[in-house]
Symmetry: D2
Subunit: 312 residues, 4 copies
């Protein structure tokens, strides 16, 4: 049973991820880069070699200032009142959630024992107890090879449906179909087809993810020595995981987040816009490119809005 047999982990197998895939200490006790350590100078050079067509694409959604069920924490974009002493545009935003494209710092989710990446303690209120795991440690940016795993294309469907979460072995299948091989340091970009999904629904999904990626994908990320996870839908919902809730009482499915952030030490770009990228890749017949993610240098922040750029 397990990944090689293309079966989802049992509750026990999922629990064992916490030790099997734990990278604590792998790059020293005070490491702050986690799986970004897989991005060596050679990886960056090889990524630059993928710039063949000279085309740049955004993987970001527009910041959305309109409130609604799918965007209960909208971005604020204000003008300072004339004479009020401010300077034109004020941008205010909750960094996390299911709307704005953002990156989670390693500290964003602790383990059930209250420990963040590399075993560092958390303090009250969801912030680190020491200066560790915060987004400022990623300020040099993430420049590496991006590989798009286009699951709707693999499945011959318009989008990943509720009830059929993306499994780890499907990522391997997609790579094979697309003629690309996973390499250490990759940004693994999983397309579930968020836009076609909600166009089919007639409305964007309410706060949360109605369909997405199963916990079994964690094994793929670990085996392939990936550096970064990027996705348009997030963790598949509770019903699709068939596993205990690693978040305890918090009724949001975080089965991938809860392994990837604290144990693997891998940052995650949530709510990416992958439709233009998928179209470009299909048209060019290649699914690998240079990817640049540049988090804002927010000291002590648990994440940052980002506009990831693919250069093909």
């Amino acid at each position: 049973m397990g990944y090689d047999e293309r079966t989802p982990p049992t509750a026990e197998e999922y629990a064992a991820y916490r030790t099997r895939f734990c990278n604590w200490g792998r790059w020293g006790p005070d490491d702050e880069l986690g799986t970004l350590n897989h991005i060596t100078p050679g990886v960056r050079r090889a990524a630059a070699d993928l710039v063949r067509d000279g085309r740049a694409l955004s993987l970001s959604r527009p910041l959305d200032t309109r409130p609604g069920p799918s965007n209960p924490y909208p971005t604020h974009h204000f003008l300072a009142m004339p004479g009020s002493g401010g300077m034109l545009d004020y941008l205010g935003m909750f960094i996390h959630g299911f709307s704005q494209t953002h990156i989670d710092a390693l500290c964003h989710l602790p383990t059930a024992e209250g420990l963040a990446w590399n075993g560092k303690p958390m303090a009250a209120g969801g912030i680190p107890g020491t200066h560790s795991g915060t987004i400022d440690f990623l300020a040099a940016g993430i420049v590496t090879r991006g590989v798009l795993y286009d699951i709707p294309r693999l499945r011959g469907s318009a989008f990943v449906e509720a009830g059929r979460p993306v499994h780890g072995w499907e990522l391997a299948d997609a790579a094979a179909t697309q003629g690309v091989e996973a390499r250490p340091g990759d940004a693994v970009i999983i397309r579930s087809g968020f836009d076609p999904y909600w166009e089919a629904q007639g409305t964007p999904p309410a706060f949360g993810t109605a369909a997405g990626v199963h916990a079994s994908a964690v094994e793929f990320l670990h085996r392939s020595d990936a550096a970064l996870l990027v996705w348009d839908q997030q963790d598949a919902p509770m019903a699709d995981q068939g596993l205990p809730n690693p978040m305890g009482d918090i009724p949001v499915a975080m089965h991938v987040h809860a392994m990837v952030l604290p144990y693997l030490g891998m940052p995650i770009v949530d709510n990416a816009q992958l439709e233009p990228l998928a179209a470009a890749c299909a048209s060019l017949g290649r699914w690998e490119f240079q990817l640049v993610v540049a988090p804002l240098d927010l000291p002590g922040g648990t994440g940052s809005p980002v506009n990831p750029i693919a250069v093909l």
Copy 2:
């Protein structure tokens, strides 16, 4: 008299910039990219070829949440009160000013006649009258060759001093000294040495720039078909310009801004952190590299915070 004679423009010559360097209509009446049109696929490919050492560097200052004379509009970084309905980090910031690293959209400064890039009208309150010139048009990111013009290195001084503004022909001198040639589509990155400047002062300068770049640099930018201006100090102060104030009653020297944004149609990255980059360039003996600037996709915004990444 003029640039070729290494003399600053007279008031008449400076006024004539508005027609000599005006790019309105150059890329069509509804163009929204301005000088970013110089960044062709070939320019992007050539920029990627400059990734030789596989090293990535940030050109951003940390977002600064501490108020003070040099930072009267500090960034806000809040936690949502437990139970208050929000989600962890709230990031709030004025986009412009002299502290946070940010990019100015083309609409950020209009002409004295109230027209923005390509002659588009402005509305009240410093925002465009139509959807034009805003930062969302730059959401695909700026990926091009970056060239560092290290003026303190050229001058053999620690930093650009007040009273000795950076002139356009010095950029040409720096290029020659550094063995690099300006090319169309470049990001022209002008280092004045902000950090050594304020360390020498014992305190960061109050809101504004105490030393910086003269209006004569505009001619260099236009002649070389540059795409983007990046700098650590901004426009040299009024006394160093020796020219009428193009901003009328607004007592902030904007002699470069006032030409570059509305007439050339060139975005500007203000308040870059260039010290680590200068050290890396000096150590590698090369001053050209791939530069990626990824503005947030803020519809209607007049700019965005950015973390520009140099890949060497």
Copy 3:
């Protein structure tokens, strides 16, 4: 036809309110108090005489930080990040809307011709063109007699239902039933029963008012020389008004607002919590008391959050 015949105004009669009830110039061309001029020292003394039981009550809803259909613009309540330079609680709120208890300044709604109270011009963006009509003019507070008009009590129903808007003559009826007489300078407090309404629905109404006060009430306010309008539900919806929309394209029923603010020059307290007050009045058998409303002194603001206090 008309108020005395207990019939709602026709479209023509409603349009005529703009001249019949217009107070422009009544207290001079530069008056900034509008109907608050009715609150003379004698009115304030008489109001203080109504403090008989020595009991103080809030007419405010709690500031609501939870987003949802009824509260798409929730209040923000943040803690400054430790070390971030801020000071504990940051309170951020949109002043207007249908959730938070707030007062509208006289400038909050202009006429169709773009004029605010006393004929002062508005500028772009919904703010006054000159310093006029803003909330800072009301900084001395509103201290006067409050009279509760308890419409559900009058009607013998739990709350005002959709399709049965509150009419002006019902205010007179309620006064008669309650044994109280309208006097110049009064705060007219109209209870529609917001809480029982939404408890009956099982959910608070979506953004807007599902039931409330008809335009005919404007005549009562004008005839009685009232100073201030306070209510828990706002203008009855479009279908209940049976009148053209005075807001043009804006699909929010503002038939009372649109007369009261710009023409009468009467401030309005929206979204009051009137249940505890109604219970106290019923228990004491009197519906008049001292009312104190203390807007924050926000220069240039179009309103303010308030916590109106009734002293019985």
Copy 4:
């Protein structure tokens, strides 16, 4: 030695305040009103009897949106960008500090042992560990007798000078001079003359109080069974106290705050504007009136902006 001998407390005497003036348990173990319990219905009735001239006055400073050394945390007043989904004015403010007129909730300062009013525990980040001591408990408003203690008038000076802090017995002196007697339930309003002070300086003082009230005033507040403290300058600076810093490492003099909030259980209105009130009292020859303070009902807040209204 001590209050009766008109000598400031020694370090030991000041430390003993913590037991001598401790009201924990006085109104039950779960009391949330503290000294506001002194405001009985009779006190409210008597306060209303003081409304003789029918005049209302604000004790609030304007909200100040301009940054500067005296206002490093200015209020934000924004307009939502057209089309951005917001609604006109957004008001954002840090509640505490030395600029905006605000009320401190009982939880705002804990004891050195980390306990707030009535011995309730604090949590990390300066917020209560349980729902206790927060501003929502004061939502019914504070309606009582206000008495102005005009210290510059007593001293025959323009303002309280640095080096000459206001002592408790001077409050008794001022009462005697003004012909008024302290009564249980009073709001004690101490004028130090903030405006004349900074006009004499030519600039408002930097963040903090340069002159103000000595710890010895705490004894007056306790002896007289006052309900509320209101002042224009806050605690006199460290040098004027001549006492150990009750805040430990925090270099802000809080000798009065540190007793009044957690031990007495008395809320404080900071940064009041008392000049118009002082002029009115002097002109009317009476220093007592009705005072109404109406905090916003902010659940979990440690304070609120307020506009206190005096009715004379």
